[in-house]
């Protein structure tokens, strides 16, 4: 912004500069020039003084020279002809005995950025490369890069490039690093400076001499190097280990970047490196500079994508400070949500609860959203907090809570009772359209359980004329329609009024069209309407249910240590579902790591076979050991609730063993991470044995239920680390439906699944429920037990077998094994065996794929 009176200032300064009295007095001359520069950096156009300043350049006073150069470099592009006059002075300075003057002249000569001067500059630059003072060489090396960019067409002499390469061996580390930088720019078209083995090793050896900035540059350039052998790779890694835990965040980050690019083929090493930087990154998170804290936080989020449990024990480091700015608080909450586990959930929720009443409304809303995210795993505790917050009757808090509840109910339908109860009366405090939309959605979907729903809607309908938000009107239409379906008597009248208003008086086309659609739909009959409107109440896709799967490091390694992670994230919080949940799109992630052997062609076969039955041939491939052809089928479908009922039914008979059964645990688990405290209490083998036989005895007595339990260990060490999507996809190929997962990397790791079997020669089909469990411990003594309904195998027999198997297991050495527990109903040994071998094949295939 030009200051007023700029003209006046320029004229005055010109008079002073050309005054011989001023020129003869060094101090006055310098002060006048200072004034010029000051005005220039304030934005006044000083280009008119160019010729006077050129004259001022010829002086012995270094300070004055520097000041004039600042001026000349800013305005040279406007006065190319006059700039020619400066060149003479500059060239003379390049011969000066004082190295400081030489480097100053050389630097500014190249900073003038005038293509017409290139011919005069080349010779001093070439001499500069051979100067005996390091500071001149530093400038000269970069000067060539500037020259190259000034005249991209002109070819830089090959001799110069060679000289730059040889200067990589310069004793001054800054000259060396500048050579790298210059070569990178000059050889950009060829892909930058050549990084071969000798250069790499030379750079690595001299790394310690450089300062922070030099080291970062070298580490960055080395990312292009590909070691020739594994030995060399590990030599380099060990050499760099000290930099990986450097107290300077830039070096730490650059080294980790290099590690990740060097080890792109070795995920295990990459993961180990991530563990190693945990300390320095945490230290950066507590740095005195807010900006550095923020940067570290954003990068920690990246790391957590691959190792969700990395910072679990350090969750307190992410508690928000009182005076921290909102953007750091929100990031910290995002991290906290990722770190939640059984031990810290109470502390964490307590802390988050404190943020909900933050003065900053955005922070408060972010905290409430965070609680909602945790609610997917720990719904009871979170709902308690959320319900408590409604009591505050603050409009922004209520709005955020209602939106959060809507999102929560969408993924955890089992919370709906509590939510419906909490909804009563909160419409009075809701002000903003987002919150009211959420409330309307909930009232529409769960209208039959909220006794006051029609009255609430009536208030909305009476006020529809003054309603400004389009979204609220559309949501109101849908909600009223839905409520009409379940409570027609109370709603009919108001629905009529609403439709009449929307069709006759509403000016907005969207609302009007929607109302017309509903009107015509009602003409088609109530059943048709029901079919259209009563869709899903919860999220049908498993993708969002299982929490965040661990991504491979390669997914984000490229963006590590760039500005990318600092800019994301804020978007992430935004996208936490706005509008009705069923409208948000869930794009299924491609199963990149899915085995090729489980080819998709088989899916078609399965489907062409009629209602999803696996054809004999494919079952044969997978389970060659099965003699009789076995088909698996997913129909009739089994809901998670049903699964839970069946799975727990028999276990409940054995409540005398002191295992408190927590009701509802599977349903909880279907939608989110498993909570350890709710995990099955009888992992112990001894308990298992009794249970395996007992139901059978009962069975004989009662004769009602015919079922069998079976347990087996399958060695497939990498399965617990494989992504849930690929596991699910693989299972579905052979018609096994997975119902619930723990996220990868957590222990114990579990998967619940079911299928129906049908042997060709058997008259009826059987239902198999199963659990895969991986505790992460050495396989315990008992490996295989089979409890059969007729009790054919005696207890001693089992024990013997158990011991034998145990010996084998220990002989095998601590191979990791996944325990498979199956429940079949009705009992059919052959089918069960067949199923087990199919399952084993799938697990092995997946596991070998991973390894």
């Amino acid at each position: 912004m030009p200051y007023l009176g700029g003209e006046e200032t320029v004229r005055e300064l010109r008079r002073a500069l050309s005054n011989p009295n001023v020129q003869s007095d060094q101090l006055r001359y310098r002060n006048t020039i200072l004034k010029v520069i000051r005005a220039m950096s304030q934005g006044v156009d000083m280009s008119g003084l160019f010729s006077e300043m050129v004259k001022a350049c010829a002086t012995v006073d270094v300070v004055q020279k520097k000041l004039v150069y600042v001026f000349l470099c800013s305005y040279a592009a406007l006065n190319p002809e006059l700039s020619l006059l400066v060149i003479n002075t500059l060239r003379k300075d390049c011969q000066d005995p004082n190295p400081m003057v030489r480097s100053l002249a050389l630097r500014n000569m190249t900073n003038l950025r005038l293509p017409s001067l290139v011919e005069y500059v080349e010779q001093p630059l070439a001499a500069g490369l051979r100067d005996r003072a390091a500071c001149v060489r530093r400038v000269a090396v970069l000067g060539w890069a500037k020259l190259h960019n000034l005249q991209a067409s002109s070819e830089i002499d090959a001799a110069v490039v060679n000289e730059l390469y040889s200067l990589l061996r310069d004793p001054d580390p800054v000259v060396m690093v500048n050579c790298l930088r210059a070569l990178e720019e000059i050889l950009k078209d060829e892909g930058g400076v050549a990084i071969n083995k000798p250069i790499t090793h030379h750079l690595l050896n001299r790394l310690k001499e450089c300062d922070i900035w030099g080291q970062c540059q070298v580490l960055r350039v080395l990312q292009r190097y590909r070691p020739q052998s594994e030995d060399e790779l590990f030599d380099i890694l060990s050499l760099l280990d000290a930099s990986l835990v450097s107290p300077h965040p830039p070096i730490m980050a650059a080294t980790l970047s290099l590690f990740l690019s060097l080890c792109s083929g070795q995920p295990a090493v990459s993961l180990a490196a991530l563990e190693r930087v945990r300390g320095p990154l945490l230290a950066a998170c507590g740095s005195g500079s807010r900006e550095m804290r923020f940067t570290a936080l954003c990068h920690i989020q990246l790391l957590l994508r691959s190792i969700p449990g990395l910072m679990g024990a350090h969750y307190k480091r992410f508690f928000c400070g009182y005076a921290e700015p909102a953007y750091i608080k929100q990031r910290k909450m995002q991290v906290l949500v990722e770190l939640v586990n059984d031990e810290n959930v109470a502390m964490l929720l307590d802390e988050l609860k404190g943020y909900c009443t933050d003065v900053n409304a955005e922070t408060a809303q972010a905290a409430i959203t965070a609680i909602g995210r945790i609610g997917r795993s720990y719904s009871d505790r979170c709902l308690e907090i959320l319900t408590g917050l409604l009591g505050l009757k603050q409009d922004h808090i209520t709005s955020a809570v209602v939106q959060t509840m809507r999102d929560l109910v969408w993924v955890c339908p089992q919370c709906s009772d509590t939510v419906c109860f909490a909804l009563e009366g909160c419409e009075e405090t809701l002000q903003d359209s987002q919150g009211r939309q959420a409330l309307l959605w909930l009232l529409g979907v769960y209208g039959e359980r909220v006794s006051s729903a029609p009255y609430t809607l009536e208030v909305f309908i009476d006020g529809v004329r003054s309603e400004a938000s389009l979204g609220v009107k559309m949501e109101l239409l849908t909600a009223t329609m839905r409520l009409f379906l379940c409570r027609p008597a109370e709603t009919q009248d108001m629905l009529g009024r609403l439709l009449h208003y929307c069709i006759e008086e509403e000016t907005d086309m969207c609302v009007r069209d929607q109302a017309l659609l509903y009107y015509r739909l009602l003409h088609c009959g109530i059943e048709e309407t029901r079919k259209v409107l009563q869709g899903r109440r919860s999220d049908p896709s498993l993708g969002v249910l299982i929490g965040r799967p661990a991504e491979p490091v390669s997914q984000w390694a490229r963006s590590f240590n760039t500005l990318e992670p600092l800019r994301q994230g804020s978007i992430e919080t935004e996208s936490v579902s706005r509008g009705s949940p069923e409208h948000t799109m869930f794009d299924p992630k491609p199963n990149a790591d899915l085995s090729n052997t489980l080819d998709c062609s088989r899916i078609e076969k399965v489907h062409s076979d009629g209602d999803g039955r696996c054809s004999d041939s494919s079952a044969d491939i997978l389970a060659s050991s099965v003699a009789a052809p076995l088909s698996l089928s997913l129909f009739p479908a089994l809901s998670p609730e049903e699964f839970e009922r069946l799975w727990l039914q028999q276990l409940a008979l054995h409540a005398e063993q002191g295992n408190e059964m927590e009701k509802g645990y599977i349903v909880n688990n279907t939608s989110q991470r498993f909570s350890l405290s709710r995990s099955f209490p009888f992992i112990g083998q001894d308990l298992w044995l009794t249970r395996a036989r007992r139901p059978a005895e009962k069975d004989e007595e009662a004769g009602k239920e015919d079922f069998v339990w079976m347990e087996e260990c399958v060695r497939c060490p990498t399965i617990p680390r494989c992504s849930p999507q690929s596991l699910q996809a693989a299972m579905q190929l052979v018609n096994i439906q997975t119902l619930a997962f723990t996220p990868p990397q957590t222990l114990p790791w579990r998967v619940y699944l079911y299928t129906h079997t049908c042997l060709d020669d058997a008259p009826h089909s059987t239902l198999i429920l199963g659990e895969l469990l991986y505790t992460g411990e050495e396989p315990q003594k008992a490996e295989v037990h089979k409890g059969s309904a007729d009790g054919g195998v005696g207890a001693e027999g089992i024990e013997d077998e158990q011991a034998r198997q145990g010996m084998e297991a220990t002989a095998d050495g601590g191979q990791e094994a996944v325990k498979v527990t199956l429940r079949q109903q009705p009992r059919d040994d052959k089918a069960l065996k067949g199923f087990l071998s199919i399952l084993t094949t799938v697990l092995h295939t997946l596991s070998s794929e991973r390894a």
Binding site: K146, P250, T295, F319, A323
Partner: protein
């Protein structure tokens, strides 16, 4: 790679602008300021972009320090550099403010010219830079009567002159050359506490981040030895001596520190360069050697007239000093900040073992019993001089060779509250 660097005042005045590569368009500064001010919230994010131009900025001394760069450059490097640059400017100009930057713009241009060439960082070491910097700093310290108070009657030394004035370390490093400034060295042990105390009085979190900084005004100093507590131990397992151990979780040292005597005698050896540098950083989590310094006993209730009553009792659990001065602080003040909905209670001085109470009566429209839940938390910000939360002490400070002429060595301890939160 940095394409431009500029420094803006909080009002958006251009203080310093330097374009290193001449690639991006002219009005980057204007664009940046527009973006910064257009954002809502108390502080804008660190990184912003506009048409392929990426701004990274830090705030130091109330100024915006901005660099424009490409998308693939390292944020750690750029932020560290901007912080380092502001530290350099502080070293050379004495203090960091809009005024000092304005007065010393020629010096800052010179610094930038030497520190960055063509967008590549060359050096930020004040040892190297001091050979190139020719401009003298203009000190902006106003004349103050306090300077005179150090001189007693007839020039006799007074009690105060034995304590370094707080402004002693805020002077430009260069002036020590010509103006015959005192050759002094300051070793500061600075700790930042972040504490969360639950509503039941339980300590939920206690972290200490500490650092030892050396600020050197000595023209020539070849080696310095800093002795720490003998019983200083690192990590959980290591325990030295039988006395009250001084324990920290993690320590990192500046690369110039030589540690050959550290394991045996806890001595750090280094050759300090002029200006300020961080010698050692350490942190301690969750295991404070002593109780947290402040405790609060709050009572929140609603009186019959519908007013909110907050009765706060604040106690300082530090050991009382032998010379306890004033027991009641007459110069306390309290203020209601409506925009942040907070009551600010200022206590200028608080000695160990003291207890203060305050009763606040607030008229809150529409106060309900549920609103009481909204009150809190209490955030304390304080500075504890002559105290470290970890108990780290400096046993001795030796300079070699022995300085000719009068040289002064100062060791200062201070603990700041990074975030001290007490839930209600």
């Amino acid at each position: 790679m940095i394409s431009q660097i500029f420094i803006l005042s909080s009002k958006g005045d251009h203080l310093i602008y330097k374009d290193f590569r001449g690639e991006s368009g002219g009005d980057a500064v204007g664009v940046f300021y527009e973006k910064v001010t257009a954002l809502t919230g108390d502080q804008p994010p660190v990184v912003m972009s506009h048409k392929g131009l990426h701004f990274v900025h830090v705030r130091q001394g109330g100024l915006y320090w901005v660099a424009t760069t490409t998308a693939d450059s390292s944020p750690f490097t750029i932020i560290e550099f901007l912080n380092r640059l502001s530290a350099l400017v502080k070293d050379y100009c004495g203090s960091l403010s809009e005024k000092s930057v304005q007065m010393n713009f020629a010096l800052i241009y010179e610094l930038l010219d030497e520190a960055v060439d063509y967008g590549y960082i060359q050096t930020t070491s004040s040892d190297v830079l001091k050979n190139f910097i020719q401009t003298e700093a203009v000190s902006s310290r106003p004349f103050s009567l306090f300077d005179l108070s150090n001189v007693g009657l007839f020039g006799a030394e007074t009690q105060q002159s034995k304590v370094a004035p707080s402004s002693a370390a805020t002077r430009p490093i260069q002036s020590s050359r010509e103006q015959g400034g005192k050759s002094e060295i300051f070793v500061d042990v600075i700790e930042r506490m972040s504490v969360v105390i639950g509503s039941n009085g339980m300590l939920m979190k206690a972290d200490v981040e500490g650092e030892i900084r050396v600020k050197c005004y000595l023209p020539n100093c070849s080696e310095m030895r800093i002795g720490l507590n003998e019983e200083f131990s690192i990590g959980k397992s290591q325990l030295r001596g039988y006395g009250a151990a001084v324990r920290v979780d993690e320590v990192s040292f500046h690369q110039m520190v030589r540690l050959d005597e550290f394991d045996s005698h806890r001595i750090l050896r280094l050759c300090p360069s002029q200006g300020e540098q961080m010698v050692m950083q350490y942190q301690l989590s969750d295991d404070l050697p002593s109780a947290p310094p402040f405790r609060l006993f709050p009572t929140i209730e609603r009186d019959s007239g519908g007013r909110l009553l907050m009765y706060l009792k604040l106690r300082c659990d530090l050991p009382p000093k032998s010379l306890s001065q004033e027991l009641s602080s007459p110069d306390q003040s309290a203020e209601l900040k409506p925009q942040s909905r907070a009551v600010v209670w200022k206590i200028p001085r608080f000695t160990g073992g003291m207890q203060l109470s305050a009763l606040f009566k607030l008229e809150v429209p529409g106060l309900s019993s549920a609103s009481l839940l909204e009150v809190g938390p209490v955030g304390l910000s304080f500075e504890l001089p002559k105290l470290t939360a970890t108990g780290l002490q400096i046993r001795f400070l030796r300079l070699s060779p022995v300085q000719p002429g009068p040289s002064q060595r100062w060791v200062r301890y201070v603990t700041h509250s990074d975030s001290y939160t007490i839930r209600i």
